[in-house]
């Protein structure tokens, strides 16, 4: 029996290239491919969270919004470490050419409205109403002093004889004579302080969040606005908003407290996780940097300062203090350590103080030269954020300083 042997179909001779393609992949190549697939998958999932965060954020660049997203999604230690490396690499050098002039601040920048309290406390004299307190000029650290250094100037243009806000600048560190610190003073008899949530900070859930900007109906009394301190996730501290606890309050932490009626204070919190009857808001941020007139002895690095840039690293920093008369003092400057910032506030007259935000993206003090939120200006010209920052919706929380009802501009 003859069997027909099937003839194999003609095959095309394989090119050396296709031979190579069909050769078994070595294990390390397969491992690399597996890692690539895992990375692409993880990135795709992360993008589902990152994209809405970046496209939905207002008033922030894509880079800053991305860093904020990283921080709020478990990457805070990574972001802080990278920041530390960056700042260590870009540390300023000591010395350098001395400044010949200081930046013009406040209403004086547009009209000659300098407050003349060059020496000593500006307690008024004579008969009539109780004397109006004004802070003493800040004694310069570096001699010879520059024109206007440490002299308080009215923040607003065409304000009366009792300005609600004063501003000054001075060189704060003899080792770095080119650095200038800006300080603002806010009269507690004429102003009230309000805590304003941003669009994303404090995080949800939050009742009565508002629109993340100074409400238009409040702008006729608006004197100043400034940054509100670390996000709650970074500070691991508490918040009371509109008389209700939003985040667990922590004893021993420096706290900006606002009372019913507009009064304010900076305290070391000792009420536990309860809301005292008269407290309207309370924002905590790290331990006090000045308490009872003395610098915190632990201003060097330590775990109590949270997951932030090292305390000794020189970056933009801001702080809020209160003087012996109960007036607020805000200070900010570039290239500050926590200690140097505390010294700036102490030199300006603060007896208790809290560190607020750091980095150029978050440090803002804006005063308004005219009622209605008109003609806003940053405390220091090199402040990165726009002076309009809090007149449009912003991501982060902030403080607004208003004239008390009935007070003249």
């Amino acid at each position: 029996m003859a069997t027909a042997t099937p003839t194999p179909p003609p095959t095309r001779p394989r090119s050396p290239r296709s031979h190579r393609r069909l050769r078994r992949l070595p294990l390390w190549r397969r491992a690399r491919r597996t890692v690539l697939i895992a990375c692409v998958f993880c990135l795709a999932v992360a993008a589902l969270s990152w994209l809405p965060a970046v496209t939905g954020s207002r008033n922030l660049s894509i880079t800053v919004a991305s860093v904020e997203w990283l921080r709020s999604h478990g990457g805070n230690p990574i972001a802080s470490q990278i920041e530390n490396w960056y700042y260590e690499l870009n540390e300023p050098e000591k010395g350098g050419p001395a400044l010949t002039s200081l930046p013009q601040v406040g209403g004086a920048a547009v009209e000659s409205g300098e407050k003349s309290n060059g020496e000593g406390e500006g307690e008024g004299e004579g008969e009539g109403p109780p004397p109006h307190y004004e802070p003493a000029a800040v004694k310069p650290l570096i001699q010879p002093k520059l024109p206007g250094e440490g002299v308080w100037k009215k923040a607003g243009a065409k304000v009366g004889p009792e300005p609600p806000a004063l501003l000054t600048t001075f060189r704060s560190d003899p080792e770095y004579p080119q650095f200038v610190a800006g300080v603002a003073w806010l009269d507690h008899t004429r102003t009230e302080l309000q805590y304003m949530p941003g669009l994303a900070e404090p995080p949800e859930p939050l009742e009565d969040r508002g629109s993340g900007e100074v409400p238009p109906e409040m702008r006729k009394r608006l004197v100043a606005t400034f940054n509100g301190g670390f996000p709650l996730e970074t500070s691991n501290a508490g918040l009371i908003y509109r008389g209700k606890i939003k985040e667990t309050m922590v004893n021993g932490i420096a706290t900006v407290v606002g009372y019913h009626g507009g009064g304010f204070n900076i305290v070391r919190w000792n009420h536990g996780n309860t809301v005292p009857k008269n407290v309207w808001f309370a924002k905590q941020n790290l331990p006090p940097i000045i308490y009872e007139g003395k610098l915190n002895p632990n201003l060097s690095d330590g775990p109590e300062w949270g997951e932030t840039v090292n305390n000794a690293t020189r970056v933009w920093r801001s702080g809020l203090g209160i003087d012996a008369h109960g007036n607020l003092m805000y200070a900010a400057a570039n290239y500050q350590t926590v200690e140097s910032l505390a010294k700036v506030l102490q030199r300006a007259g603060a007896v208790r103080a809290i560190e607020l935000d750091i980095n150029e993206d978050w440090t803002s003090f804006i005063s308004y030269r005219h009622p209605g939120g008109l003609d806003p200006s940053n405390l220091l010209p090199e402040m990165f954020r726009s002076p309009e920052r809090y007149l449009v919706p912003d991501e982060r929380d902030f403080f607004a300083v208003y004239l008390k009802p009935g007070q003249p501009w």
Binding site: R33, C42, V45, A46, S72, H73
Partner: protein
Amino acid sequence: MRLPRNVSPAAAERRALLFDALLGLLIGISAIIVAAGIGVVGFIALLGLLLVVLWYVIEGGLRRRQRRR
């Protein structure tokens, strides 16, 4: 059910690719579950992706160079 043992090299390659893809997904899912947050996962994945892509690019460049010689 058993997978056929004698398969063409192309089928073996496809099978290996499928296995690697599934393993990659499994690693990715595990990382997302274990990590402190999706931000950490995204950041490390971005670094990993850049490294692997760089590796591919360098390897391709070296291979092209060798072929030209």
